[in-house]
C-alpha cells in the first residue's frame, strides 16, 4: 500500500468520485486553479474543468443552499467550506433545509450532499478560524457527521460519504493534513457509523476522534510506561454514533475518558458520556471523565491558545482521576 499525506488522500477520494460518477461536482471558494485554501483541490480544475469544479463567490449561505437544491435534483455536490467556522453562515440551509427535507417531504426527495469543513485550532489563526463546531450540529436529525483521523480513513470515509444518499458533514482536522499513512489504492470505502479501535488495552478507554486520536495515542504510550494499557477508540462517525463499539470498550475496561478538541460544555463528550451512563452503568468502575477545550473562544496568541486546548497532561490527569 502506498504511503500518502492525509490531504492527498482526500484529494484522491475526490478525484476518484469525479471520475466514477458524472453527477459529482465540487463547489467552494478558491477551489479552482488556486486549489483551495489548503490545496486540497489542486489539479482537479485542470482535469475536470469549471463545470465540475465550480468556484463560488464568498456566499456561504447561498452556495450551500444552491448545493442543496442541486443535490435534490440529480447532482452530488461536494462543498468545501474554507474554514469550518464559516459553516455558521450556511447553518440555515444545512439545519433548516438539507437535513430535514427527506423526512418532512416524506421520503420523496433525497439530499446527497457532502460538506467538507477543515476544522481545529493550534495554528494561531484566532477565534474565527479555529473552531470545532461539530457539537453545534450533533443534535441535527437527518445530518451525518464524519471525522477521519488517518489518511486511509480520510479517503475511505469521504468516498462513502459521497455515495451516501444523505447530507454528510465531513470534518477535516487541519492539524492532520500533513500526517502520513498507508492508503489503499483504487475504489476504497470505509462504512459510515463504524468506529475503529486505534489501540488495544484493558485498563481504561480513551474515546475520541479526529485530531485528538494522535493525542490519545501519545497519552496511551505514557500510561503504558506506568503499567496502564488503554483502549483508544476512534469514533470516526459522530452521527450516527457506533454505540456497539462504545459499549464494547467500556464493558472491557470499566474506566473511560472522552477526549475532544471542541469545547467541554455541550460537547461530543457530553453525548458520549450520557450514552455510556445509560448503557454501561454497571460496568463502570469510575465516573466518566471528559477532556476538552476550555469554554472560551479560541485566543490567537500561541501560549494562550495552548492554555485552552486539551493536552496530554490533561489526559494523564484525567487518567489519575479514574484510578483515585
Amino acid at each position: 500500500m502506498p504511503e500518502m499525506y492525509f490531504s492527498d488522500a482526500i484529494r484522491a477520494a475526490l478525484d476518484e468520485a469525479l471520475t466514477r460518477d458524472a453527477s459529482v461536482v465540487l463547489m467552494g471558494e478558491d477551489i479552482g486553479p488556486y486549489g483551495g485554501a489548503f490545496g486540497i483541490t489542486r489539479g482537479l480544475h485542470e482535469k475536470y474543468g469549471p463545470e465540475r469544479i465550480i468556484e463560488t463567490p464568498i456566499s456561504e449561505n447561498g452556495f450551500v443552499g444552491v448545493a442543496v437544491g442541486a443535490a435534490m435534483t440529480g447532482l452530488r455536490p461536494v462543498v468545501e467550506i474554507m474554514f469550518m467556522d464559516f459553516i455558521l453562515l450556511a447553518a440555515d440551509q444545512i439545519i433548516n433545509h438539507a437535513a430535514k427535507l427527506h423526512y418532512i417531504y416524506d421520503g420523496q426527495v433525497k439530499v446527497p450532499l457532502v460538506i467538507r469543513a477543515p476544522a481545529g485550532a493550534g495554528r494561531g489563526y484566532g477565534a474565527s478560524h479555529s473552531q470545532n463546531l461539530e457539537n453545534v450540529f450533533l443534535s441535527v436529525a437527518g445530518l451525518k457527521i464524519v471525522c477521519p483521523a488517518t489518511p486511509a480513513d480520510a479517503k475511505g470515509l469521504l468516498a462513502a460519504a459521497i455515495r451516501d444518499p444523505n447530507p454528510v458533514l465531513f470534518i477535516e482536522p487541519k492539524a492532520l493534513y500533513g500526517a502520513r499513512g498507508e492508503v489503499p489504492e483504487g475504489d476504497y470505502t470505509v462504512p459510515l457509523g463504524v468506529a475503529r479501535l486505534a489501540r488495544e488495552g484493558k485498563d481504561l478507554s480513551i474515546i475520541t476522534y479526529g485530531a485528538c486520536v494522535p493525542l490519545a495515542l501519545a497519552a496511551a504510550g505514557e500510561l503504558s510506561e506506568g503499567g496502564l494499557e488503554a483502549d483508544v477508540l476512534d469514533l470516526r462517525t459522530l452521527k450516527p454514533m457506533d454505540l456497539t463499539a462504545l459499549e464494547a470498550t467500556v464493558a472491557k475496561t470499566g474506566r473511560c475518558i472522552v477526549l475532544e478538541e471542541g469545547p467541554l460544555t455541550g460537547g461530543i463528550g457530553a453525548e458520549v458520556s450520557a450514552r455510556i451512563g445509560e448503557r454501561c452503568f454497571r460496568a463502570l468502575k469510575a465516573g466518566v471523565q471528559r477532556v476538552a477545550a476550555q469554554d472560551t473562544p479560541i485566543p490567537s496568541a500561541t501560549p494562550l491558545e495552548h492554555a485552552v486546548l486539551p493536552s496530554v497532561a490533561a489526559l494523564l490527569a484525567a487518567a489519575d482521576r479514574l484510578f483515585e
Binding site: 463567490p57 464568498i58 464559516f86 453562515l89 478560524h129 490567537s300 496568541a301 500561541t302 501560549p303 494562550l304
Partner: protein, 317 residues
C-alpha cells in the same frame, strides 16, 4: 489638501507601508504565528478616509485591517504587541490580526469573517442615529464581501432607516484568487448600493487626496441625516492575499502596471513638486525610527500569561 496635511498623510501611509513590511518579515521569521493579511498598496484608502473623519466617528474594519488601525492613530507597538501576544497588545494577543479592537481611537474592531463587519457597522450607525451622538460610522470591506447576503441585507436596512454609515469597498480586484469579473455579476459594484437608493461613487484609491475628497463629499450629507453613502476605492494589493499566496492567478505585467500607481510614489511626487524634496528622507528616517522603537517596546512587554486565557468570557455587571 493643504501641503502640511498632505505631508502628514504621506507620513501615515509610509508608516503603514513600512510596518506591514516589518510584520511580513516577522511572520516569515516565525515571530508572528497564524496568518496575516497585509494592506501594502492600499494605504491611500485607509489614510484618505481617516483624514476626513472627526473625533467621535467610528470605524469597523475587516480582515485586512492594520492600515485602518494605524490610519486612525493606532500605536505601532500595540499593534505589534497584539500580533506577538504581548501584554502591550491592543487585546493582549487574544484577538490577533483579524480580531483586534481599539475603541479608544475609534476602531470598533477588525473581523475575520468576510462581510461580518458590515451589519455591525450598520448597528453602530443605528446607535449613533438613535442616541443622537452625531458620529459617522465607516465600514471597510473588500470587493469579495459584496457577495455575502449580509452585505445586501445591511445596505437595505441602512437605506430604509437613513443610518449614518459610510461603506467603503476597497476593490483590489481580487478576493483571494478570485477576480471580480468571476465573482461580481455585471461587474459593477456601484450598481449594488445604487439598487438600494444609496448614493455611491468610485474613486481612485491610489490617490490619497482623491480618497479624502470623496470621503468628505460622502460624509457631509450623511452627517446631515441624509442616510448612508458608499465609496468604491479602486486599488490593488501589491502583496499576496496572505503570506502563503504564490500569486499564480495574476500576471506580473498587471502588477507592474499597478505599481506605477503606487500611492506612496504618487504622493511623494506631488510633495517633491511642491518643494518638500529635502524633507522626505527625514520623514522616512523618522518613521523607521518610530517602527524600531515600537518593536523594542513590544519586545520589552511581557508575554501575556497563559492563565489569563480563562478570564473574561462573560462581562461583569
Amino acid at each position: 489638501m493643504p501641503e502640511e496635511r498632505l505631508l502628514s498623510a504621506y507620513r501615515k501611509m509610509l508608516l503603514i507601508r513600512l510596518m506591514e513590511e516589518r510584520i511580513g518579515a516577522l511572520f516569515t521569521e516565525g515571530a508572528i504565528a497564524g496568518t496575516c493579511h497585509l494592506c501594502i498598496g492600499q494605504e491611500a484608502v485607509a489614510v484618505g478616509v481617516a483624514e476626513a473623519l472627526e473625533l467621535g466617528d467610528e470605524v469597523v474594519s475587516c480582515h485586512r485591517g492594520h492600515g485602518h488601525l494605524l490610519a486612525m492613530g493606532g500605536e505601532p507597538a500595540r499593534l505589534l504587541g497584539e500580533l506577538m501576544g504581548r501584554q502591550i497588545g491592543y487585546c493582549r494577543g487574544r484577538g490577533g490580526s483579524q480580531h483586534l479592537s481599539a475603541p479608544g481611537i475609534g476602531l470598533l474592531g477588525t473581523n475575520g469573517i468576510t462581510g461580518g463587519g458590515i451589519p455591525i457597522a450598520t448597528g453602530a450607525a443605528l446607535s449613533a442615529h438613535l442616541l443622537r451622538t452625531g458620529a459617522a460610522i465607516v465600514c471597510f470591506f473588500g470587493d469579495g464581501a459584496t457577495n455575502q447576503g449580509v452585505f445586501h441585507e445591511s445596505l437595505n436596512m441602512a437605506a430604509l432607516w437613513s443610518l449614518p454609515v459610510l461603506y467603503v469597498c476597497e476593490n483590489n480586484r481580487y478576493a483571494m484568487s478570485e477576480p471580480v469579473c468571476r465573482t461580481v455579476a455585471g461587474g459593477d459594484i456601484l450598481a449594488r448600493p445604487r439598487a438600494y437608493g444609496i448614493s455611491a461613487e468610485c474613486v481612485d484609491g491610489m490617490d490619497v487626496e482623491a480618497v479624502e475628497a470623496a470621503a468628505r463629499r460622502a460624509l457631509a450629507p450623511l452627517r446631515a441625516g441624509k442616510g448612508p453613502a458608499f465609496i468604491e476605492a479602486a486599488t490593488y494589493r501589491f502583496c499576496g492575499h496572505s503570506k502563503s499566496d504564490k500569486l499564480l492567478y495574476r500576471t506580473r505585467e498587471e502588477e507592474a502596471k499597478w505599481r506605477e500607481r503606487d500611492p506612496l510614489t504618487l504622493t511623494r511626487l506631488k510633495l517633491e513638486k511642491a518643494g518638500w524634496k529635502e524633507t522626505l528622507p527625514w520623514i522616512e528616517e523618522e518613521v523607521r525610527r518610530q517602527i524600531a522603537e515600537a518593536e523594542e517596546a513590544c519586545r520589552r512587554s511581557p508575554l501575556t500569561p497563559p492563565e489569563t486565557a480563562l478570564q473574561g468570557v462573560y462581562a461583569d455587571a
